[in-house]
C-alpha cells in the first residue's frame, strides 16, 4: 500500500514538467549549432520573450537533423542555413513558406603556419584545390549540417570529385562546428566554419582565418513554420509570432546589434526577395 502510494507520487513527480509545460506559452525551435554556439539566441531570445511572453526552446542540431526534427513534427519552427534543403522541405509540404532572415559567411580556418600556403587567398576554389593536391589535413563536419553541405558544394565548385580524391588527409568528424574546430586545432588541420561560430569560439589556439571574402562563401539563414496540416500539434500562433518578429524591423535590428569583440556576427536581410 505504502509502496504503491510512493510509486504514484514518484510518477506524478516525473510527469509534472510535462503538465507544467502545457500551461506556459512555449515553442520549440529546431535550429543549428551555429546560432546557439555563437550566442545569437542568448542575445535575441530574452528580448523576444520579454515582449511576447512566449518562451522559446531551442534544440540546436545540424541543419539536416534540424529539418528532420521538423519532418517528425517535434518542433514548431525550423531555423537553419541550407537554402536548397529548406526549399525541399517546403516542396515536401512540411512547411508552406520559407523566409530569409539573415546571412553571414563561411571562412576557411587553419594552422597559423599555413602548411598549404593558402593564407590570405580570396579564392576558395583554388585554396581547396591546393589543400587536396598537397593532401594537407582537412576536417569535415560530415554531419549533413548546413556547413557540411556548403563544404561539399564548394569542393564541386573547385571542380574536384570528393569521392575520388578523398584520402587519409580528409577527416570527417561527424560532429558540430565547435567540436570540428577543436579537432582541427588539435590536428593542425584546415576546416570550413561559419564566421559566427569562429568568432565566438574560445579555443582558437593556433588556428587562424586562411581564406575569406569569396562571395561563394555566402551563408544564408532561413526560417519556416512546420506545417500544421501535417502535425496538428504545431503551435501555429506562437510559432508564427516568433517568425514575424524575426523578420520584423525590430527583430532584424536586434540581430544586427549582436556583436562579439566589436564584430557583427549576423547581417539581417529579411527584405531581400532573392535571399
Amino acid at each position: 500500500m505504502l509502496r504503491r502510494s510512493v510509486l504514484t507520487a514518484a510518477l506524478a513527480l516525473a510527469l509534472l514538467p510535462a503538465v507544467a509545460v502545457a500551461e506556459e506559452r512555449t515553442i520549440t525551435v529546431a535550429s543549428t549549432t551555429s546560432t546557439l554556439d555563437s550566442g545569437l539566441f542568448g542575445h535575441i531570445l530574452p528580448i523576444f520573450e520579454a515582449k511576447t511572453g512566449i518562451k522559446v526552446r531551442v534544440v540546436a542540431q545540424g541543419t539536416g537533423q534540424a529539418l528532420d526534427t521538423g519532418r517528425r513534427g517535434d518542433a514548431d519552427v525550423v531555423f537553419v542555413h541550407a537554402r536548397a534543403q529548406e526549399l525541399k522541405f517546403v516542396e515536401e509540404g512540411f512547411a508552406t513558406k520559407r523566409l530569409p532572415v539573415m546571412y553571414n559567411d563561411f571562412v576557411i580556418v587553419g594552422p597559423a603556419a599555413d602548411p598549404a600556403g593558402i593564407a590570405g587567398s580570396k579564392d576558395v576554389a583554388a585554396a581547396l584545390k591546393t589543400i587536396a593536391e598537397k593532401k594537407v589535413p582537412f576536417v569535415s563536419r560530415g554531419d549533413k549540417s548546413g556547413t557540411h553541405l556548403a563544404e561539399v558544394a564548394l569542393w564541386k565548385v573547385a571542380g574536384l570529385d570528393l569521392a575520388a580524391i578523398r584520402g587519409e588527409w580528409y577527416r570527417e568528424v561527424g560532429q558540430g562546428m565547435g567540436a570540428a574546430l577543436n579537432t582541427a586545432g588539435a590536428m593542425g588541420a584546415y576546416t570550413l566554419s561559419d564566421r559566427a561560430t569562429w568568432i565566438a569560439f574560445k579555443n582558437k589556439g593556433d588556428l587562424k582565418i586562411a581564406v575569406e571574402g569569396d562571395k561563394r562563401l555566402f551563408n544564408q539563414y532561413g526560417v519556416m513554420l512546420v506545417n500544421p496540416a501535417k502535425f496538428p500539434t504545431v503551435k501555429v500562433a506562437d510559432g508564427q509570432a516568433f517568425i514575424d518578429w524575426l523578420v520584423s524591423a525590430e527583430g532584424q535590428g536586434v540581430i544586427s546589434t549582436y556583436q562579439i569583440e566589436g564584430k557583427q556576427l549576423f547581417f539581417p536581410n529579411a527584405g531581400d526577395p532573392n535571399a
Binding site: 509502496r3 510512493v6 510509486l7 514518484a10 510518477l11 513527480l13 516525473a14 510527469l15 514538467p17 510535462a18 509545460v21 502545457a22 520549440t28 549549432t33 546557439l36 554556439d37 539566441f41 542568448g42 526552446r57 531551442v58 534544440v59 540546436a60 517528425r72 513534427g73 517535434d74 560532429q175 558540430g176 562546428m177 565547435g178 567540436a179 574546430l181 577543436n182 565566438a200 569560439f201 574560445k202 579555443n203 582558437k204 502535425f231 500539434t233
Partner: protein, 234 residues
Amino acid sequence: MDGGATLTTMTASLIRAVDPAFLGIVLISLKVTLTAVGCAGLVGFPLGAALALGRFPGRSLLIVVTNAFMGLPPVVAGLAVFLLLSRSGPFGGLGLLFTPGAMMVAQFVLVLPIIVALTRQTIEDLWLEYRDQLTSMGADRLRAIPTLLWDARFSLVTTLLAGLGRASAEVGAILIVGGNIAGFTRTMTTAIALETSKGDLPLALGLGAVLMSLTFAINGLAYAVSRLGARYAG
C-alpha cells in the same frame, strides 16, 4: 598553459558560472537523475528479487538479458526513447520529447537493468543463506521477497548508487531526448558537452569538477546513512 594558470582560469570560469542559470542546471540534473533512479529502484528492487527467487521457464534467459542490458549504450537507449516519444512515434501524443520527462524515461531505461541485475544477485545470495530458516518459518519463495529486500536494504543502497552513477554520468541519451534546451533540459553533462564544443574548455572542466563534487557528496551521504542505519539496526 601550466597547471596553476589552468586552475586559475578554471576557478574564474566557475565563479562566472555560479549564477541562477548555473544553479538551474544543477537542479535540473538532480531532479532528472534522482527521479529516474528512484523510480528504477521502486520497480527494480521487487523485479530483481522476483527474478532471484522465482522459478519459471525462461528465467536463465531473462537473467542473461538483464545482465547484458547493463551494458546498453546510452546513445542506443536515447535513440529508442527518442523514436518512441517523437510526435511521429507511438507515444508522440504525450508531447514528452525535448522535456525533462523524456530524459527521466531514458535514464530509467538505462538504470533499471543495473538495479534488477544487482538486486537479483544480492537477494539470491541472501536466499541461499537464509533458505532453511525462512522455509522452517513457513515462508515460501514469493512471501520471502519483502523480508529479504528489507534484510538486504543496506547492500541495496550500493545498488542504488551504481544506478545513480550510471545516470548522472551519462550524456548520450539525454542529449538526444532532451535536446539540451537552456534552462529546461540542460543538465550538467549536456552543459559540459556544449561548453566543450564552444571551445570554453576551462568552464567545461569546472562544470565537470562540480559534477564530481556533487557525486562525492551524494555517495558520502549514502555511505554515512547506511553505516548509521546498520549500526542502529544492530
